[in-house]
Structure formats: structure tokens, C-alpha cells
């Protein structure tokens, strides 16, 4: 004896319902648009009020941090000649440095000219192998700031 048609239909409804429910529930900020700096400066209005990720290179000499506070950085990121000011309010990762590439998560402020962010991932300027080539054998001293 195989399953009855009613059972099969019932199963199909349950499965469809479960999938539908999961899709309908908001997955939060799991899915974010990922753009380069020049895409933001080209049409800032499109990003108004939305959280997204922006990728760019930290401009040399632009990093300013408030001494003695828990993460308060201002710097400028650049891509294809376009620049965007960033206000970053968390502790940056180990790999964060001027001239390095960063991917920031956040949103534009009310004026639409500063990117407010609390989340960053940073890449080293080049691959690990090339990086090691630059570093010589001489011992370094711990950072004193």
C-alpha cells in the first residue's frame, strides 16, 4: 500500500509552507550589497538609509584617531580616483593600515558624504608571500604608541 493522495498533498503543503515561512521571515542583515568607492560617489542617493559594504584603499596619511578612546577613527578610502570619508567606531583589525585595502560595513550619514562604519575587514596590501619578501630577518620592536 502506497501513500494516499491526501497524505502526499498534505506533505507537499507542509514542505512548501516551511520553505515559504523561512523565506518570508527577515534574514536580517545577512545579505548586503558590496560596492567599490567609486560606485558610491557616483550615485550616493541610491544608498541612502541602507547598510552595505564598501571596498577601497585607505589613503596614505589620512588616518586620524582620537587618542585614548575605544575606537574612533577617521580616514579616507579611495577607488579609481574617487574618495569617500569614513568614520569608523570600533577597533580595527590587525591588518588595517594605510595603503591597505579595506572592506567596510555601514551606512552613509545624513549628509551622504561620510560613511559610518563599525565593521571592517582588511587585507594586507599584497599576498602573504610577497609580504614576507619585504620583511627582512631583523627583529622588530613592539609598537609603542
Amino acid at each position: 500500500m502506497a501513500l494516499s493522495t491526501t497524505t502526499k498533498i498534505g506533505l507537499a503543503v507542509v514542505v512548501a509552507g516551511a520553505i515559504g515561512l523561512m523565506v518570508a521571515l527577515d534574514p536580517g542583515e545577512g545579505v548586503l550589497e558590496y560596492v567599490y568607492v567609486d560606485q558610491v560617489t557616483a550615485e550616493p542617493a541610491r544608498f541612502e538609509g541602507r547598510t552595505f559594504k564598501v571596498h577601497g584603499t585607505v589613503v596614505e596619511g589620512s588616518v586620524k584617531s582620537k587618542k585614548g578612546t575605544t575606537g574612533d577613527y577617521r580616514f579616507v578610502v579611495e577607488h579609481k580616483g574617487q574618495r569617500l570619508a569614513v568614520h569608523y567606531t570600533d577597533i580595527p583589525p590587525d591588518t588595517f593600515q594605510e595603503g591597505g585595502e579595506v572592506i567596510l560595513t555601514g551606512r552613509l550619514d545624513a549628509e551622504g558624504d561620510t560613511f559610518e562604519s563599525e565593521e571592517m575587514s582588511a587585507k594586507c596590501p599584497s599576498k602573504y608571500e610577497d609580504e614576507a619578501k619585504v620583511a627582512g630577518g631583523a627583529p622588530s620592536t613592539p609598537r609603542k604608541d
Binding site: M1, A2, L3, T7, L11, A18, M22, V23, A24, L25, P27, G28, E29, G30, V31, L32, E33, Y34, V35, Q39, R46, K53, G68, T69, T70, G71, D90, I91, D94, T95, Q97, S121, C124, K127, Y128, E129, E131, A132, K133, A135, G137, A138, P139, S140, T141, P142, R143, K144, D145
Partner: protein, 702 residues
């Protein structure tokens, strides 16, 4: 002759041998020639010998410090401990491919030897498939990524290696990649036998018997690899968690999910002669996912913290291999469809068959889901895909969800997305873990349902109510400081996922206890013996069944640990020397900074003393920043934790100011996290009990 030349010749010989072996196996199968097949079998053993030689040569190059080889130059260092010199072999791309070939040829050799007499008909084609797979990887070595490629130095340049990436110099990292490799590579064996079964038309259960233990073996090592990877991330990366749905983690998870589905569904075929097609699909998918996972991690198509770098040639090669696997195996399935008809039909949805089928759908579905999600951001980066999406899919999506946006550029998918979809699936699987073994094959009567499930249901409800009452009680004794999961304004509120998880843990736990109690009781009724004796007798008699229950017990404990995630606390703050901060029930005191150094790094260590609520010192945490000399501008973060069964006090430091003694510290309270590792250890033991199944020992499936 230099090692570089000798090694390259070995790789060349290896490749030629795979081609010859494959040709012999093919001819032998077509002409039914014992002699040709024998030649092919010897060829497989020979391939292993050559692969072993090449691997030992590379190990020798590392030990001897032959920096005229590029791979050694980049990954070796004269001062590296011997242990790391040995593991540097598979530490980077080219060597890891050679390691892959070594393991694959070893497993091929072993599996062919083991099944030579028992499953004669399958041998020629199994050899053919295995030789082709090894051939593919040795071609990669030969043409794209030769680990023996020479490094031509200008005279006077430093003859010194660069050394392994400091992040990888961690004990877990020694065992994590090889363990994953073992698990992934050994999936090729069941795949080869499954293909051989389809080619020869012997699609009864014989091929499964020949591979069942291989699949268990793969499963065990994949599990070990995944958990060690999690432990490594937890201890080394300093963000307080162990799983972030990173593409590289997913690469190991995908075949694990498929493999778990397969381990369950073979039982249905053994018992009821059903799901034959499905089993073949699962064994093919498991292997496919190992290749897909390798593709993800080795080709650089996805963005990940620990991808191996970009390599378009490799991406294309793996792409072609994946398409070949899909096309060939689908064609074979269609061809053999008439032979794969079920002996029985599904009779009721309250039956073990159906529970297994659901389990399979969930595992298979989540594997496919994760596989698509992980590559999706890469797809959205392609102009063509975006155009396709906006033209075809977007109008449909728009109908369902009004706030959908057309694709204008790359998107990213974060952990919360995965968690959103995978948590309910995980809970459903946890439920099935308890439900499946308790329902009968074919169909279950209402009476026996009540008898079986009354206890577990009560247990589940009790646990859930206890959790709902106790957790807020414990937490509300003080204001919860910091960012806390499931808290509103510093007060713990109920977490639905957490409570469900606790409840299901109670439910499933009780079903397992009940099964053991019953089994012991039956044995003691038949012959007088002690409880312990009966328990051991039970395990020996039906290892697969009771070993399986131990695995399930481990799963329950792991989920118990996952449930703690719903109650974790996170604090990121700045601490002066002497300052005390609160974290859940604990108090953390900053007791100064220590600077030390060794042969390869400078270290700054912060001493954080953990105090309980009565100011007793429990432990001293030593989170640190390490500056490796070879990589000065990129310090590594060393986390430190105080372990307890009720949870970890976990710390890592983000920044140290030597002049003032201030540190920026990340503190986490991870409730129940250690149950994940405890549960895993139990799961592992259960797996070992299962794998010890003797020949013809099939009563365990009842």
C-alpha cells in the same frame, strides 16, 4: 641530479602511469581479460609507490633545506622546528596537491586490495575511475603546480626560506588540514565503486557493502577536520566564535552533509530495497562536493580569509572536472534506471523509512543550499549573471517579496543569513535524531507511538520549561553588561531558538537512554548478567546500531553547546591596569602587560585575572599580540580563555598601549561552548564503534 629535477621526473612518471593504468583497466574491462586487469591493479599499487617517493623527496627537501626549490623556499625556514618543516609539505597549494595525490593513491591501492576477491566484477571499472581521478590531479601537478619547480637565484642572493605563515603554526593546524584531506580524498573510493556498479550493472547492495566502511571513514575524518578547524578558529582568530560560515569552512561541511545523508540512506536500501537511485545520487554528490570544496578553496573564486589565492587555470580545471562528473554520472544513472527500481514502496509517513527520507532531504537540501549560497556572491560579480537575474528571476522574486532589489553589483552574504536558514534545519534534524530510531519500519501503530514517545516528550518539555525559568533567573541577578544575545536593555529574555534547542536535546537524549535501557533489559531477561555486561554485550552484538546511538548522543551534546550561543555575551572595552570589569557572573581584572620574545617573534601579553563573585581568583588569562619577525606589520592575535563546563570566559586583545598600560580588550562569555567539544569526542567514539563492524554484521540495522 638536483632534487628539483628528480622530483619533476617523478611527477612525470606518475602521470604517465595513471594514463597507462587507466588504459589497461579499460581494455581489461572491455575484453574481459584477467591479465590486463591484473596489470591495471599492479599499476594502481605502482602509482602509490611513485607518489610516496615524490612526497618523501619533498619532505627531504624541507628537512635538508633545499631552497633551490621554489615551494621549499617559500614555505620552509632553516630555524623552523622539525615538526613544522614536515607539515610545511601540505601547508601551501602545490604541496597540498601532491599530498592529495599521495592519499588518493594510498586509498586506491588499499581499497582495490581489500575488494579484489570479494567484489571481482567491480574491480576493473573501479580501477579505471580511480586512475582517472589520480591522473587529473597529477596532471595539475605536472602542468600547473609543480611543487618541485626550481627557484633560480641570482648569485649572492640570500639562500634562505621564508617560512610558514605564522597563523598556521598552531598545533591544530597540523592535524586540521590532513584530517580534512583524509576525509575528502577517501570519498573518491565509494564514488569509484558506485560508478563501477553502474557501469557493470551490478547495482544491488554489493557495491555498498564494499564501501560502507570507507564512507564511515571519510565521515569520521571530515568530522575531525571540521571540529579541529573550529577549535583553531576559536583559539587563534580571537573573535570568540568557532564557526562563521566562511567559504573554506563550508568547503568541508558540504561533503560532510552529503556523506551523513548517505550513511543513513544505505540502511533503507539494505532493509527495504528502497532508495537505490538516491543512494547512488548521494555517493556521487558526496564526491562531487569534495571536488567542489577543493575548487572553492584552491581557485580563489570566492573571497575568504584563508583562500589559497587566485588561480584561473586551476578554477577552469576543476570546473571541467566537475562538469565531467555531473554529465557522466547522470548519463550512467539514466542508462541504469530500469535496474534501480525499488523493491518496496513507502507505506506510511510514520515509519522509519520516511524518517530517513526526511533526514536525507534535509541533509541533501542544506548541502545544495550552502553550495549555492557560497558561490552566489561570486556570480553576482559577473555582468552576465546580473543581466540574467534582472531579466528572468527578478520579476518573480518581486512578486513574492516587495522590497526586493535588482542586482546592480556584487553582494555579500554573511553568517546571519546562513544561521537564519540553517538553524531551523538543524533543529529539525535534531528532532529526527530522536524520532527516527524509535519508529518502526513500514508503519507504526498509534499505541506503540504513545509507548515510545511519551517519556521523551515529557523529558523534552521538562528541559524546556526548566531552561525557560532558570536562565532568566540566573541572568537577572545582575544587569548584563555588554552586547548580549537575546537581551533587551540588559535583561535576558527568552530565546525561542535556544529553548527549542534545549527541549529537543532533552527529547532526543531521552530516546537514546530509553533504547539502551530496553536493550539491556531484554538481554538480562534472556540470561542473568550484570548491567555492565549486558551493556557491553549489546554494543558488541549490534555495533552499528548502538554505535550509532553513541554518535547521536554526541550530536545531542553538541547541540546543547550550540544552544549556549543564544545566550552569549560580548564586551569590547578599554581597561586601565588594575581596573575590574564584569562579565556575566565573573569579574575580570587587568594585572599588567608582559613583553617577551623568542626566536621568531616579539610578544606582548596582557594578564587578566578572572575572579568569581566572591573575589576568589579563578584563573589568569593571557591574551597576547605576537609580531613575527617575518611579518612585522601584521601582528597575530592570541586568544586566551578560562574553560568551565558552564561556559568559557574568552579574551583577546585588540590593541596595547605600552606608555599608559591601557589595553583594548574583547571579552566574551560563551555559555556551554565546551559541550560542543565534549559532544564531538563522544560522537567520535561512537563512530569508531560503528566502523569496527565485522563482516556480515548487519543486524544493527533492525
Amino acid at each position: 641530479m638536483t632534487i628539483s629535477t628528480l622530483g619533476t621526473i617523478a611527477i612525470l612518471v606518475l602521470f604517465i602511469m595513471t594514463v597507462v593504468t587507466a588504459a589497461l583497466a579499460l581494455l581489461g574491462a572491455v575484453r574481459h581479460s584477467e591479465r590486463l586487469v591484473e596489470g591495471a591493479v599492479q599499476g594502481i599499487h605502482g602509482i602509490f609507490a611513485v607518489a610516496l617517493f615524490a612526497s618523501m623527496l619533498l619532505e627531504y627537501a624541507f628537512l635538508a633545506g633545499d631552497y633551490t626549490i621554489q615551494y621549499v623556499q617559500q614555505n620552509g625556514h632553516p630555524e623552523m622546528p622539525v615538526f613544522y618543516k614536515l607539515t610545511a609539505f601540505w601547508g601551501s597549494l602545490d604541496g597540498s596537491l601532491l599530498f592529495w595525490v599521495l592519499l588518493l593513491s594510498l586509498f586506491s591501492s588499499l581499497s582495490i586490495r581489500a575488494n579484489r576477491q570479494r567484489h571481482r566484477v567491480l574491480i576493473p571499472n573501479a580501477v579505471l575511475v580511480l586512475a582517472l581521478i589520480i591522473g587529473f590531479f597529477s596532471a595539475l601537478l605536472l602542468f600547473l603546480k609543480n611543487p618541485f619547480a626550481p627557484y633560480i637565484l641570482t648569485p649572492g642572493a640570500a639562500m634562505q626560506g621564508k617560512g610558514m605563515n605564522p597563523l598556521l603554526q598552531n598545533p591544530y593546524m597540523i592535524f586540521h588540514p590532513p584530517s580534512l584531506y583524509l576525509g575528502m580524498v577517501s570519498m573518491a573510493v565509494p564514488f569509484a565503486f558506485g560508478m563501477a556498479a553502474m557501469i557493470t550493472g551490478h547495482v544491488d547492495s554489493a557495491w555498498q557493502r564494499s564501501v560502507r566502511r570507507w564512507v564511515l571513514f571519510s565521515w569520521l575524518f571530515l568530522s575531525v577536520g571540521l571540529v579541529l578547524g573550529g577549535l583553531w578558529a576559536y583559539e587563534e582568530l580571537g573573535w570568540g566564535g568557532y564557526w562563521a560560515w566562511d567559504p573554506v569552512e563550508n568547503a568541508g561541511l558540504l561533503p560532510w552533509l552529503m556523506c551523513t545523508a548517505f550513511l543513513h540512506s544505505v540502511m533503507v536500501q539494505e532493509r527495504r530495497g528502497m532508495l537505490k537511485v538516491w543512494n547512488l545520487v548521494l555517493v556521487i554528490s558526496s564526491f562531487f562536493m569534495t571536488i567542489y570544496g577543493t575548487f572553492l578553496t584552491r581557485s580563489g573564486v570566492v573571497q575568504s580569509v584563508h583562500a589559497f589565492g587566485e588561480s584561473p587555470e586551476l578554477a577552469w580545471s576543476f570546473g571541467i572536472l566537475m562538469i565531467t562528473i555531473i554529465v557522466v554520472s547522470t548519463a550512467l544513472l539514466v542508462w541504469r534506471w530500469p535496474l534501480l527500481r525499488s523493491r518496496n514502496e513507502l507505506e506510511s509517513i510514520v515509519s522509519r523509512e520516511f524518517a530517513f527520507l526526511l533526514n536525507n532531504w534535509l541533509f541533501f537540501g542544506s548541502s545544495v543550499f550552502v553550495a549555492i549560497v557560497v558561490i552566489y556572491p561570486t556570480l553576482t560579480d559577473m555582468e552576465g549573471f546580473r543581466a540574467f537575474y534582472n531579466e528572468v528571476a527578478y520579476p518573480l522574486v518581486k512578486m513574492v517579496s516587495s522590497d526586493a532589489q535588482p542586482l546592480t553589483g556584487r553582494i555579500t552574504i554573511g553568517p546571519s543569513f546562513y544561521n537564519h536558514y540553517m538553524s531551523p534545519v538543524g533543529l529539525a534534524l535534531l528532532f529526527l535524531t530522536g524520532f527516527g530510531p524509535l519508529v518502526a519500519w513500514r508503519k507504526t501503530t498509534g499505541q506503540s507511538l504513545v509507548k515510545q514517545f511519551l517519556g521523551p516528550l515529557v523529558a523534552g518539555l521538562v528541559v524546556m520549561v526548566l531552561a525557560a525559568v532558570l536562565i532568566p533567573l540566573v541572568r537577572s541577578s545582575q544587569d548584563v553588561q555588554g552586547v548580549c544575545e537575546g537581551c533587551v536593555g540588559g535583561v535576558q529574555v527568552m530565546s525561542l531558538t535556544g529553548l527549542l534547542c534545549f527541549g529537543l536535546c532533552g527529547f532526543t537524549f531521552w530516546t537514546i537512554v530509553q533504547e539502551y535501557v530496553r536493550g539491556v533489559r531484554v538481554r538480562r531477561r534472556n540470561r542473568p548478567q550484570s548491567v555492565l555486561e549486558a551493556l557491553i554485550g549489546l554494543m558488541m552484538k549490534a555495533r552499528r546500531r548502538y554505535g550509532g546511538y553513541i554518535v547521536h548522543l554526541g550530536v545531542v551534546l553538541m547541540f546543547f553547546g550550540f544552544a549556549g550561543n543564544s545566550y552569549k555575551i560580548e564586551r569590547k572595552l578599554q581597561m586601565h591596569p588594575g581596573e575590574v570589569v564584569e562579565l556575566d557572573d565573573y569579574r575580570i581584572r587587568h594585572d599588567g602587560i608582559v613583553a617577551t620574545q623568542d626566536w621568531q617573534k616579539d610578544m606582548l601579553t596582557v594578564r587578566l585575572t578572572v575572579l568569581d563573585d566572591e573575589d576568589n581568583e579563578l584563573a589568569v588569562l593571557t591574551p597576547a599580540k605576537w609580531w613575527y619577525y617575518q611579518l612585522k606589520e601584521q601582528p597575530t592575535t592570541e586568544a586566551s580563555r578560562y574553560m568551565a563546563l558552564e561556559g568559557d570566559v574568552y579574551s583577546s586583545i585588540a590593541d596595547v598601549q605600552l606608555s599608559t598600560g591601557w589595553v583594548r580588550v574583547n571579552l566574551y562569555y560563551n555559555p556551554l561552548v565546551n559541550w560542543v567539544w565534549v559532544g564531538f569526542a563522544i560522537m567520535l567514539m561512537g563512530g569508531i564503534v560503528c566502523i569496527g563492524t565485522r563482516k556480515g554484521d548487519a543486524e544493527g540495522v533492525s
